[in-house]
């Protein structure tokens, strides 16, 4: 069974003018982005920005209102089983399969992928390699019910990866984690870059996490994408404004400027002596993020609690 023909093998995700409307409420107004093969893309945004809605549409679990979506060359709304086999979804587990043992469940689920194995992409992944990758060697014969929250989450990742997917989706993977579990989880995701050409799309509302994990960060706010780039790029774009601070005499000065270099040059030329504690501070990614989110959230009326839960 061969893989499907793709328009461009380099583009894994292509989203054009994606819209989602629940009743009167526009959750997604116009979302546009692409992801290339092998990229780790983080969809960042405040709660209720539409991250889960977006990722569920891309996973083929939710129908969109309008727009074009192409995942691995196919429309997820009509994705067949062959397409499904190329995608991994990391779901939040809770009490499902609690009586299954770690290795037993991975072995079982892996068998569904065997017919979809190709010469260039072996499916499923070897169970023991996978268990090692997510660090569950010691728990491999334990029942899922006996795993800790963090271990269970790593099991979720293993289940998402068992079919050796070309694209892996993770929705808010570390929500409710303590710092240690979060750190361990980040290590697991970093480990995945060793896997051949797996594109990863994950959502989070945590800026630190986005910065740590993403090759690229896409910020979703107010139903549309407001920023797209690497953490550095985003910070640089946003920090066209910088603050120059210095002390002259006993007085501390702060001056916001869009061209810090020129300002400092002039400042020092005008005051050959007497300037001390000079610093130029660019806006951090966090400042950027807060500014962007505030800009897009303030004009909107408070979103009322909808029955649809988080979107």
């Amino acid at each position: 069974m061969g893989t499907d023909k793709q328009v461009s093998p380099q583009t894994t995700i292509r989203v054009r003018d994606l819209q989602m409307r629940y009743g009167e409420k526009d959750v997604l107004k116009s979302v546009n982005f692409e992801a290339k093969r092998g990229e780790v893309v983080v969809l960042l945004g405040p709660n209720g920005a539409g991250k889960s809605t977006t990722i569920e549409i891309l996973e083929g679990f939710r129908m969109r209102s309008a727009g074009e979506v192409e995942i691995l060359g196919q429309d997820p709304a009509h994705g067949n089983e062959q397409w499904r086999a190329r995608i991994g979804v990391v779901l939040q587990s809770w009490r499902d399969h609690s009586r299954w043992r770690v290795r037993e469940l991975l072995d079982h689920l892996g068998k569904y992928y065997e017919p979809y194995s190709t010469a260039e992409r072996k499916r499923p992944l070897d169970t023991d390699t996978l268990i090692g990758l997510v660090g569950l060697q010691e728990q491999s014969n334990q029942m899922l019910a006996s795993l800790s929250g963090g271990q269970r989450r790593r099991m979720d990742v293993a289940i998402g990866l068992i079919g050796n997917p070309e694209l892996l989706f993770l929705d808010e993977p570390t929500v409710g984690f303590d710092p240690k579990a979060r750190r361990d989880f980040h290590d697991v995701i970093h480990g995945l870059s060793d896997l051949e050409d797996t594109t990863i799309l994950l959502t989070t509302h945590d800026l630190d996490e986005a910065e740590k994990l993403g090759d690229r960060i896409i910020i979703l706010a107010g139903g549309t994408i407001v920023a797209d780039g690497s953490a550095d790029q985003l910070a640089r774009e946003a920090s066209s404004k910088a603050e120059v601070r210095w002390t002259q005499g006993r007085k501390r000065h702060v001056h916001p400027t869009s061209d810090a270099t020129a300002y400092v040059r002039k400042l020092l030329a005008d005051n050959p002596t007497g300037i001390s504690e000079l610093e130029v501070r660019h806006a951090s990614l966090e400042d950027t993020y807060m500014t962007i989110v505030q800009q897009h959230e303030l004009p909107q009326p408070t979103p009322q609690q909808t029955k649809g839960g988080k979107s």
Partner: protein
Amino acid sequence: MNPTLRAARLGLSRGWIEFKQSLRNSQDISWNIGVAVIILAVLWWQRGSEVNGVSLALLTLPSLLGMGIANGGFVGAAGTLSYDREDGTLLRAKAVPQGMVGYLFSRLVTITLTTLMSFIIILPAVFFIDGLTIDGFGVVTLIWIFFLGLLATAPWGAIVGSLVKNSTSGWGLTFMPMVALVAISGIFYPITALAGWIQFIAQLFPVYWLGLGARSIFLPDSAAANELGGSWQLPIVALVLTAWAIVGTIIALRVMKRMARRESGSNVEKRRQEVMQRGY
């Protein structure tokens, strides 16, 4: 092998694995023992009473078999489906290629085996109830009534399980009607003792016919005189069950397809929050 066929086979093995897990689970074991104790106590207590010269316990035991089929199909399917939707088992199946096929077959296995299990636990009754008989024709009848009975009832359970909001209502909305039907279908005492209009309602549903069919297998032919119309009416049993099976399957496939399309991570998360809030 064709991937769909392969997934169906994986589903069968999944069903077998999960049935074995249930045999080892202390909660399931104590439930089975509890049910067995209650039923055996009822039968023991009925041993002395007689209806037209036949021991009441002898009438009840096969009737219970019929009830068990309807219960395993209807309540079993609704319970398992609503539970699997609630906790995300179904969503996991959806995320795997051909996973829904596997899921469906696994549940056919678990529902069948769990129903069989509910018979095995009351087997001790044969040691204190005299007069049970079964012949070759009876064995054949038993087999078709068992499978046709599950086919007639499980799709209706699946419909309820697809529509309800949580596993608690999946159980409640099927168990209560089941108790009501059992009460009027001549399971624990002869239907002939009931008012005509109640007999009429009972005959619209599979529980009565399953009880009747099961009695025809284990009771001597002379006992047919106690039934409505004075005979076993096996062709009508087959007809009624087939009708329920066909209509139920057609509706269930549609409802389940629609339900499955709507499953997503945020739905499961929402249900998780609800369960956390109500605390069970």
